[in-house]
Amino acid sequence: MAKRVLLGAAAVLLVIAAAYAAFFVAPEERTMGVLQRIFYFHVACAWAGLTAFMICFAANLLYVWKRQEKYDWLGVSCAEVGTAFTTVVLISGPIWAKPAWGIYWTWDARLTSTFILWLLYISYLLLRTLVEEPDRRALLSALFGIFAFIDVPIVFGAIRWWRTQHPAPVIMGGPNSGMAAGMRPAFYFGVIAMHIFMWFLISERYSLEKTRSDIELLRQEAEAS
Protein backbone atom coordinates (compact mmCIF):
# COMPACT_ATOMS: atom_id res chain seq x y z
CA MET A 1 0.00 0.00 0.00
CA ALA A 2 2.74 2.40 0.97
CA LYS A 3 4.56 1.58 -2.24
CA ARG A 4 1.52 2.52 -4.30
CA VAL A 5 1.05 5.82 -2.53
CA LEU A 6 4.71 6.57 -3.01
CA LEU A 7 4.59 5.75 -6.69
CA GLY A 8 1.49 7.86 -7.12
CA ALA A 9 2.94 10.79 -5.26
CA ALA A 10 6.19 10.54 -7.17
CA ALA A 11 4.35 10.39 -10.48
CA VAL A 12 2.19 13.40 -9.74
CA LEU A 13 5.11 15.41 -8.43
CA LEU A 14 7.16 14.57 -11.48
CA VAL A 15 4.39 15.64 -13.80
CA ILE A 16 4.01 18.91 -11.95
CA ALA A 17 7.76 19.41 -12.08
CA ALA A 18 7.78 18.63 -15.79
CA ALA A 19 4.99 21.14 -16.33
CA TYR A 20 6.98 23.73 -14.42
CA ALA A 21 10.01 22.94 -16.54
CA ALA A 22 7.96 23.21 -19.69
CA PHE A 23 6.49 26.54 -18.76
CA PHE A 24 9.27 28.28 -16.93
CA VAL A 25 12.59 26.57 -17.50
CA ALA A 26 12.57 25.83 -21.21
CA PRO A 27 13.35 28.75 -23.47
CA GLU A 28 10.52 30.35 -25.38
CA GLU A 29 10.22 29.19 -28.92
CA ARG A 30 10.96 31.75 -31.59
CA THR A 31 7.89 31.63 -33.78
CA MET A 32 5.03 30.24 -31.76
CA GLY A 33 5.82 31.60 -28.35
CA VAL A 34 4.01 30.30 -25.31
CA LEU A 35 1.72 28.14 -27.39
CA GLN A 36 4.58 25.88 -28.36
CA ARG A 37 4.96 24.73 -24.76
CA ILE A 38 2.07 22.36 -25.25
CA PHE A 39 4.52 20.36 -27.36
CA TYR A 40 6.31 19.01 -24.30
CA PHE A 41 3.10 17.68 -22.95
CA HIS A 42 1.64 16.50 -26.24
CA VAL A 43 4.66 14.55 -27.45
CA ALA A 44 5.32 13.03 -24.02
CA CYS A 45 1.73 11.77 -23.97
CA ALA A 46 2.09 10.34 -27.46
CA TRP A 47 5.21 8.42 -26.54
CA ALA A 48 3.73 7.17 -23.27
CA GLY A 49 0.65 6.00 -25.16
CA LEU A 50 2.76 4.09 -27.65
CA THR A 51 4.77 2.50 -24.86
CA ALA A 52 1.55 1.42 -23.18
CA PHE A 53 0.36 -0.20 -26.41
CA MET A 54 3.66 -1.99 -26.84
CA ILE A 55 3.40 -3.43 -23.33
CA CYS A 56 -0.19 -4.40 -24.21
CA PHE A 57 1.07 -6.30 -27.25
CA ALA A 58 3.63 -8.14 -25.15
CA ALA A 59 0.96 -8.96 -22.56
CA ASN A 60 -1.34 -10.26 -25.31
CA LEU A 61 1.35 -12.56 -26.65
CA LEU A 62 2.16 -13.79 -23.16
CA TYR A 63 -1.48 -14.51 -22.43
CA VAL A 64 -1.95 -16.59 -25.57
CA TRP A 65 1.16 -18.52 -24.69
CA LYS A 66 0.84 -18.94 -20.92
CA ARG A 67 -2.88 -18.43 -20.32
CA GLN A 68 -2.31 -16.74 -16.98
CA GLU A 69 -4.93 -14.19 -15.95
CA LYS A 70 -2.35 -11.63 -14.92
CA TYR A 71 -1.40 -11.08 -18.54
CA ASP A 72 -5.00 -10.37 -19.38
CA TRP A 73 -5.19 -7.85 -16.55
CA LEU A 74 -2.00 -6.22 -17.76
CA GLY A 75 -3.26 -6.14 -21.33
CA VAL A 76 -6.52 -4.38 -20.56
CA SER A 77 -4.80 -1.95 -18.20
CA CYS A 78 -2.26 -0.95 -20.83
CA ALA A 79 -4.92 -0.71 -23.51
CA GLU A 80 -7.06 1.61 -21.42
CA VAL A 81 -4.18 3.78 -20.31
CA GLY A 82 -2.78 3.88 -23.83
CA THR A 83 -6.17 4.88 -25.19
CA ALA A 84 -6.47 7.59 -22.57
CA PHE A 85 -3.08 9.05 -23.48
CA THR A 86 -3.88 8.83 -27.18
CA THR A 87 -7.16 10.63 -26.60
CA VAL A 88 -5.22 13.42 -24.94
CA VAL A 89 -2.85 13.52 -27.92
CA LEU A 90 -5.72 13.71 -30.40
CA ILE A 91 -7.35 16.53 -28.47
CA SER A 92 -4.26 18.54 -27.58
CA GLY A 93 -2.97 18.43 -31.14
CA PRO A 94 -5.82 20.39 -32.70
CA ILE A 95 -5.90 22.77 -29.74
CA TRP A 96 -2.34 23.67 -30.58
CA ALA A 97 -2.65 23.46 -34.33
CA LYS A 98 -5.51 25.90 -34.75
CA PRO A 99 -3.84 29.00 -33.33
CA ALA A 100 -0.43 27.90 -34.62
CA TRP A 101 -1.27 26.83 -38.15
CA GLY A 102 -4.84 27.94 -38.65
CA ILE A 103 -6.16 24.40 -39.08
CA TYR A 104 -7.43 21.87 -36.56
CA TRP A 105 -6.40 18.79 -38.44
CA THR A 106 -4.46 17.44 -41.35
CA TRP A 107 -4.41 13.96 -42.72
CA ASP A 108 -0.69 13.36 -42.54
CA ALA A 109 0.91 10.03 -41.67
CA ARG A 110 1.37 10.58 -37.98
CA LEU A 111 -2.04 12.01 -37.24
CA THR A 112 -3.99 9.55 -39.33
CA SER A 113 -2.09 6.57 -37.94
CA THR A 114 -2.71 7.85 -34.43
CA PHE A 115 -6.40 8.14 -35.17
CA ILE A 116 -6.56 4.60 -36.54
CA LEU A 117 -4.53 3.32 -33.60
CA TRP A 118 -7.03 4.96 -31.30
CA LEU A 119 -9.95 3.42 -33.20
CA LEU A 120 -8.38 -0.03 -33.06
CA TYR A 121 -7.91 0.06 -29.30
CA ILE A 122 -11.38 1.46 -28.76
CA SER A 123 -12.57 -1.59 -30.70
CA TYR A 124 -10.41 -3.77 -28.46
CA LEU A 125 -12.11 -2.32 -25.38
CA LEU A 126 -15.53 -2.66 -26.97
CA LEU A 127 -14.84 -6.29 -27.84
CA ARG A 128 -14.10 -6.96 -24.19
CA THR A 129 -17.50 -5.67 -23.12
CA LEU A 130 -19.19 -8.01 -25.58
CA VAL A 131 -17.71 -11.30 -24.38
CA GLU A 132 -18.95 -12.38 -21.00
CA GLU A 133 -17.01 -15.46 -20.10
CA PRO A 134 -13.66 -14.32 -18.65
CA ASP A 135 -11.31 -16.87 -20.24
CA ARG A 136 -12.91 -16.46 -23.65
CA ARG A 137 -12.80 -12.69 -23.32
CA ALA A 138 -9.15 -12.76 -22.40
CA LEU A 139 -8.21 -15.02 -25.32
CA LEU A 140 -10.26 -13.23 -27.98
CA SER A 141 -9.16 -9.77 -26.98
CA ALA A 142 -5.53 -10.89 -26.79
CA LEU A 143 -5.79 -12.26 -30.33
CA PHE A 144 -7.46 -9.12 -31.62
CA GLY A 145 -4.86 -7.04 -29.80
CA ILE A 146 -2.14 -8.93 -31.64
CA PHE A 147 -3.75 -8.41 -35.04
CA ALA A 148 -4.38 -4.75 -34.28
CA PHE A 149 -0.83 -4.09 -33.19
CA ILE A 150 0.81 -5.68 -36.21
CA ASP A 151 -1.51 -3.60 -38.36
CA VAL A 152 -0.29 -0.32 -36.93
CA PRO A 153 3.07 -0.13 -38.72
CA ILE A 154 1.33 -1.17 -41.94
CA VAL A 155 -1.18 1.66 -41.52
CA PHE A 156 1.61 4.10 -40.86
CA GLY A 157 3.52 2.91 -43.91
CA ALA A 158 0.50 3.15 -46.18
CA ILE A 159 -0.38 6.66 -45.15
CA ARG A 160 3.16 7.91 -45.19
CA TRP A 161 3.68 6.62 -48.70
CA TRP A 162 0.50 7.86 -50.24
CA ARG A 163 -1.17 10.49 -48.15
CA THR A 164 1.66 12.81 -47.18
CA GLN A 165 2.51 14.04 -50.63
CA HIS A 166 0.90 17.44 -50.55
CA PRO A 167 2.72 19.99 -48.43
CA ALA A 168 1.41 19.75 -44.92
CA PRO A 169 2.42 21.88 -42.00
CA VAL A 170 5.16 20.14 -40.10
CA ILE A 171 3.29 19.80 -36.86
CA MET A 172 6.05 18.59 -34.68
CA GLY A 173 9.20 18.19 -36.77
CA GLY A 174 11.00 15.22 -35.18
CA PRO A 175 11.71 15.66 -31.54
CA ASN A 176 15.39 15.97 -32.21
CA SER A 177 15.23 17.97 -35.37
CA GLY A 178 15.37 21.66 -34.87
CA MET A 179 14.94 21.42 -31.14
CA ALA A 180 17.14 23.94 -29.44
CA ALA A 181 19.60 22.56 -26.90
CA GLY A 182 17.86 24.49 -24.16
CA MET A 183 14.64 22.67 -24.80
CA ARG A 184 15.99 19.17 -24.53
CA PRO A 185 16.21 18.80 -20.78
CA ALA A 186 12.63 19.95 -20.31
CA PHE A 187 11.52 17.71 -23.12
CA TYR A 188 13.17 14.53 -21.90
CA PHE A 189 12.17 15.27 -18.35
CA GLY A 190 8.60 15.51 -19.56
CA VAL A 191 8.84 12.21 -21.39
CA ILE A 192 10.22 10.46 -18.33
CA ALA A 193 7.63 12.03 -16.06
CA MET A 194 4.82 10.94 -18.36
CA HIS A 195 6.16 7.41 -18.51
CA ILE A 196 6.26 7.19 -14.74
CA PHE A 197 2.75 8.58 -14.60
CA MET A 198 1.74 6.00 -17.19
CA TRP A 199 3.27 3.25 -15.08
CA PHE A 200 1.38 4.46 -12.04
CA LEU A 201 -1.90 4.48 -13.94
CA ILE A 202 -1.30 1.01 -15.34
CA SER A 203 -0.49 -0.48 -11.94
CA GLU A 204 -3.57 1.11 -10.39
CA ARG A 205 -5.75 -0.17 -13.21
CA TYR A 206 -4.12 -3.59 -12.88
CA SER A 207 -4.96 -3.82 -9.17
CA LEU A 208 -8.47 -2.68 -9.95
CA GLU A 209 -8.85 -5.41 -12.55
CA LYS A 210 -7.44 -8.03 -10.22
CA THR A 211 -9.84 -7.02 -7.47
CA ARG A 212 -12.75 -6.94 -9.89
CA SER A 213 -11.89 -10.43 -11.08
CA ASP A 214 -11.65 -11.74 -7.52
CA ILE A 215 -14.99 -10.20 -6.59
CA GLU A 216 -16.66 -11.63 -9.66
CA LEU A 217 -15.40 -15.08 -8.78
CA LEU A 218 -16.66 -14.76 -5.21
CA ARG A 219 -20.00 -13.51 -6.42
CA GLN A 220 -20.45 -16.41 -8.81
CA GLU A 221 -19.43 -18.90 -6.18
CA ALA A 222 -21.93 -17.41 -3.77
CA GLU A 223 -24.67 -17.56 -6.37
CA ALA A 224 -23.89 -21.14 -7.22
CA SER A 225 -24.20 -22.38 -3.65
Binding site: L127, L130, F144, A148, I154, I159, W161, W162
Partner: protein, 224 residues
Protein backbone atom coordinates in the same frame (compact mmCIF):
# COMPACT_ATOMS: atom_id res chain seq x y z
CA UNK B 1 -4.88 -35.70 -45.51
CA UNK B 2 -2.46 -32.82 -45.99
CA UNK B 3 -3.13 -29.19 -45.23
CA UNK B 4 -3.63 -28.16 -48.83
CA UNK B 5 -5.81 -31.07 -49.83
CA UNK B 6 -8.00 -30.54 -46.77
CA UNK B 7 -8.27 -26.85 -47.59
CA UNK B 8 -9.11 -27.68 -51.20
CA UNK B 9 -11.84 -30.12 -50.14
CA UNK B 10 -13.36 -27.55 -47.80
CA UNK B 11 -13.06 -24.80 -50.37
CA UNK B 12 -14.84 -27.00 -52.86
CA UNK B 13 -17.69 -27.55 -50.47
CA UNK B 14 -18.02 -23.84 -49.64
CA UNK B 15 -18.11 -22.88 -53.29
CA UNK B 16 -20.53 -25.65 -54.22
CA UNK B 17 -22.85 -24.66 -51.38
CA UNK B 18 -22.76 -21.03 -52.38
CA UNK B 19 -23.40 -21.73 -56.03
CA UNK B 20 -26.40 -23.76 -55.09
CA UNK B 21 -28.12 -20.95 -53.22
CA UNK B 22 -26.17 -17.93 -54.48
CA UNK B 23 -27.49 -16.00 -51.51
CA UNK B 24 -24.20 -14.50 -50.35
CA UNK B 25 -23.08 -13.27 -53.73
CA UNK B 26 -26.40 -11.93 -54.85
CA UNK B 27 -26.96 -9.92 -51.70
CA UNK B 28 -23.38 -8.66 -51.68
CA UNK B 29 -23.53 -7.56 -55.31
CA UNK B 30 -26.78 -5.69 -54.78
CA UNK B 31 -25.36 -4.06 -51.68
CA UNK B 32 -22.30 -2.80 -53.54
CA UNK B 33 -24.57 -1.47 -56.28
CA UNK B 34 -26.69 0.40 -53.76
CA UNK B 35 -23.65 1.91 -52.08
CA UNK B 36 -22.12 3.00 -55.39
CA UNK B 37 -25.38 4.59 -56.51
CA UNK B 38 -25.78 6.42 -53.20
CA UNK B 39 -22.21 7.63 -53.39
CA UNK B 40 -22.95 9.10 -56.77
CA UNK B 41 -25.55 11.32 -55.11
CA UNK B 42 -22.91 12.87 -52.90
CA UNK B 43 -21.08 14.48 -55.78
CA UNK B 44 -21.49 14.89 -59.51
CA UNK B 45 -19.96 11.75 -60.99
CA UNK B 46 -19.48 13.03 -64.47
CA UNK B 47 -16.75 15.55 -63.90
CA UNK B 48 -13.04 14.82 -63.96
CA UNK B 49 -13.07 14.67 -60.19
CA UNK B 50 -14.84 11.36 -60.41
CA UNK B 51 -11.63 9.86 -61.76
CA UNK B 52 -9.98 10.81 -58.51
CA UNK B 53 -12.79 9.92 -56.14
CA UNK B 54 -14.36 7.07 -58.02
CA UNK B 55 -11.90 4.28 -57.25
CA UNK B 56 -11.85 5.23 -53.58
CA UNK B 57 -15.60 5.02 -53.39
CA UNK B 58 -15.57 1.73 -55.22
CA UNK B 59 -13.14 0.20 -52.76
CA UNK B 60 -15.04 1.67 -49.84
CA UNK B 61 -18.17 -0.01 -51.19
CA UNK B 62 -16.26 -3.31 -51.46
CA UNK B 63 -15.06 -2.93 -47.88
CA UNK B 64 -18.53 -2.28 -46.51
CA UNK B 65 -19.93 -5.16 -48.50
CA UNK B 66 -17.21 -7.48 -47.30
CA UNK B 67 -17.79 -6.61 -43.66
CA UNK B 68 -21.35 -7.82 -44.12
CA UNK B 69 -20.59 -10.75 -46.38
CA UNK B 70 -18.03 -12.20 -43.99
CA UNK B 71 -20.50 -12.50 -41.12
CA UNK B 72 -22.00 -15.88 -42.04
CA UNK B 73 -18.55 -17.34 -42.52
CA UNK B 74 -18.40 -18.79 -39.02
CA UNK B 75 -21.97 -18.19 -37.96
CA UNK B 76 -23.15 -20.86 -40.36
CA UNK B 77 -20.79 -23.34 -38.73
CA UNK B 78 -22.44 -22.69 -35.38
CA UNK B 79 -25.92 -23.78 -36.51
CA UNK B 80 -25.35 -27.52 -36.15
CA UNK B 81 -21.90 -27.24 -34.62
CA UNK B 82 -20.34 -28.29 -37.90
CA UNK B 83 -17.27 -26.38 -36.81
CA UNK B 84 -16.57 -29.13 -34.30
CA UNK B 85 -16.95 -31.72 -37.03
CA UNK B 86 -14.44 -29.82 -39.16
CA UNK B 87 -12.01 -29.50 -36.29
CA UNK B 88 -12.23 -33.23 -35.70
CA UNK B 89 -11.77 -34.09 -39.35
CA UNK B 90 -8.76 -31.94 -40.24
CA UNK B 91 -5.35 -32.31 -38.69
CA UNK B 92 -4.30 -28.69 -39.10
CA UNK B 93 -6.97 -26.09 -38.24
CA UNK B 94 -5.26 -23.65 -40.58
CA UNK B 95 -6.86 -25.66 -43.40
CA UNK B 96 -10.25 -24.40 -42.25
CA UNK B 97 -9.03 -20.82 -42.44
CA UNK B 98 -7.32 -21.26 -45.79
CA UNK B 99 -10.48 -22.70 -47.26
CA UNK B 100 -12.71 -19.94 -45.93
CA UNK B 101 -10.26 -17.25 -46.99
CA UNK B 102 -10.14 -18.79 -50.44
CA UNK B 103 -13.91 -18.97 -50.66
CA UNK B 104 -14.42 -15.43 -49.41
CA UNK B 105 -11.80 -14.10 -51.81
CA UNK B 106 -13.54 -15.82 -54.71
CA UNK B 107 -16.94 -14.47 -53.72
CA UNK B 108 -15.57 -10.96 -53.28
CA UNK B 109 -13.74 -11.13 -56.61
CA UNK B 110 -16.87 -12.29 -58.34
CA UNK B 111 -18.82 -9.36 -56.96
CA UNK B 112 -16.06 -6.90 -57.79
CA UNK B 113 -15.68 -8.06 -61.38
CA UNK B 114 -19.44 -7.94 -61.82
CA UNK B 115 -19.46 -4.39 -60.54
CA UNK B 116 -16.58 -3.22 -62.70
CA UNK B 117 -18.49 -2.58 -65.94
CA UNK B 118 -21.36 -1.06 -63.98
CA UNK B 119 -18.98 1.27 -62.24
CA UNK B 120 -17.26 2.13 -65.50
CA UNK B 121 -20.58 3.01 -67.06
CA UNK B 122 -21.88 5.06 -64.13
CA UNK B 123 -18.69 7.03 -63.70
CA UNK B 124 -17.68 7.24 -67.36
CA UNK B 125 -14.44 5.53 -66.53
CA UNK B 126 -12.46 3.34 -68.80
CA UNK B 127 -10.19 0.43 -68.06
CA UNK B 128 -8.99 0.10 -71.59
CA UNK B 129 -6.46 -2.67 -71.75
CA UNK B 130 -5.84 -2.58 -68.04
CA UNK B 131 -7.69 -5.76 -67.23
CA UNK B 132 -4.67 -7.79 -66.07
CA UNK B 133 -3.64 -5.00 -63.73
CA UNK B 134 -7.18 -4.65 -62.44
CA UNK B 135 -7.43 -8.38 -61.86
CA UNK B 136 -4.19 -8.43 -59.92
CA UNK B 137 -5.21 -5.48 -57.78
CA UNK B 138 -8.66 -6.83 -57.08
CA UNK B 139 -7.21 -10.23 -56.24
CA UNK B 140 -4.57 -8.98 -53.81
CA UNK B 141 -6.96 -6.50 -52.23
CA UNK B 142 -9.71 -9.06 -51.83
CA UNK B 143 -7.25 -11.57 -50.43
CA UNK B 144 -6.23 -9.05 -47.78
CA UNK B 145 -9.84 -8.23 -46.95
CA UNK B 146 -10.72 -11.92 -46.70
CA UNK B 147 -7.71 -12.84 -44.59
CA UNK B 148 -8.26 -10.18 -41.96
CA UNK B 149 -12.02 -10.53 -42.30
CA UNK B 150 -12.10 -14.29 -41.80
CA UNK B 151 -9.89 -14.02 -38.72
CA UNK B 152 -12.07 -11.32 -37.21
CA UNK B 153 -15.24 -13.16 -38.17
CA UNK B 154 -14.01 -16.05 -36.04
CA UNK B 155 -13.66 -13.60 -33.16
CA UNK B 156 -16.95 -11.79 -33.61
CA UNK B 157 -18.88 -15.06 -33.99
CA UNK B 158 -18.09 -15.74 -30.34
CA UNK B 159 -19.28 -12.44 -28.97
CA UNK B 160 -22.53 -10.53 -28.57
CA UNK B 161 -23.69 -7.96 -31.11
CA UNK B 162 -21.68 -9.81 -33.66
CA UNK B 163 -23.29 -8.14 -36.66
CA UNK B 164 -22.12 -4.75 -35.51
CA UNK B 165 -18.86 -5.93 -34.07
CA UNK B 166 -17.35 -7.34 -37.23
CA UNK B 167 -17.44 -4.06 -39.22
CA UNK B 168 -16.19 -2.25 -36.13
CA UNK B 169 -13.16 -4.48 -35.80
CA UNK B 170 -12.52 -4.92 -39.49
CA UNK B 171 -12.79 -1.49 -41.06
CA UNK B 172 -10.00 0.27 -39.14
CA UNK B 173 -7.78 -2.76 -39.62
CA UNK B 174 -8.26 -2.64 -43.37
CA UNK B 175 -7.34 1.02 -43.74
CA UNK B 176 -4.05 0.14 -45.48
CA UNK B 177 -5.87 -2.01 -48.06
CA UNK B 178 -8.20 0.84 -48.77
CA UNK B 179 -5.37 3.28 -49.34
CA UNK B 180 -3.15 1.01 -51.42
CA UNK B 181 -5.90 -0.52 -53.56
CA UNK B 182 -7.39 2.88 -54.28
CA UNK B 183 -4.05 4.29 -55.33
CA UNK B 184 -3.31 1.46 -57.73
CA UNK B 185 -6.82 1.59 -59.19
CA UNK B 186 -6.55 5.36 -59.69
CA UNK B 187 -3.37 4.78 -61.64
CA UNK B 188 -5.06 2.17 -63.81
CA UNK B 189 -8.07 4.36 -64.43
CA UNK B 190 -6.30 7.57 -65.28
CA UNK B 191 -6.27 8.93 -68.87
CA UNK B 192 -2.65 7.82 -69.09
CA UNK B 193 -2.89 4.49 -67.28
CA UNK B 194 0.08 3.17 -65.34
CA UNK B 195 0.70 0.34 -62.93
CA UNK B 196 1.80 1.34 -59.49
CA UNK B 197 3.96 -1.58 -58.49
CA UNK B 198 4.67 -0.07 -55.10
CA UNK B 199 1.00 -0.47 -54.27
CA UNK B 200 0.90 -4.03 -55.52
CA UNK B 201 3.94 -4.88 -53.44
CA UNK B 202 2.33 -3.28 -50.44
CA UNK B 203 -0.86 -5.29 -50.84
CA UNK B 204 1.19 -8.44 -51.17
CA UNK B 205 3.05 -7.62 -47.96
CA UNK B 206 -0.23 -7.06 -46.10
CA UNK B 207 -1.54 -10.39 -47.34
CA UNK B 208 1.60 -12.24 -46.33
CA UNK B 209 1.75 -10.64 -42.88
CA UNK B 210 -1.84 -11.47 -42.02
CA UNK B 211 -1.77 -14.95 -43.50
CA UNK B 212 1.31 -15.63 -41.39
CA UNK B 213 -0.34 -14.22 -38.28
CA UNK B 214 -3.36 -16.42 -38.92
CA UNK B 215 -1.16 -19.43 -39.47
CA UNK B 216 0.50 -18.79 -36.12
CA UNK B 217 -2.59 -17.99 -34.11
CA UNK B 218 -5.49 -19.50 -36.04
CA UNK B 219 -5.96 -22.56 -33.88
CA UNK B 220 -6.50 -20.36 -30.83
CA UNK B 221 -9.28 -18.53 -32.63
CA UNK B 222 -11.20 -21.80 -32.92
CA UNK B 223 -10.38 -23.05 -29.48
CA UNK B 224 -13.01 -23.81 -26.88
Amino acid sequence: MGLLSNAAALLGKEVRTEFRSRELMSTTTVFVLIVVVLFSFTFDPTTDESHRFGPGLLWLAFLFAASLMLQPCFLREQVNDTLSALRLAVRDPFAIFLAKIGANTLFLLFTELLMLPVFAALFNASFRGQLPGILLTFFLGSLGISTAGTALAAISAQSRMRELLLPLLLLPLLAPILVASTEVTVGLMSPDPFMQWKGIGFLAVFDVVFLTALWLFGEYLLEE
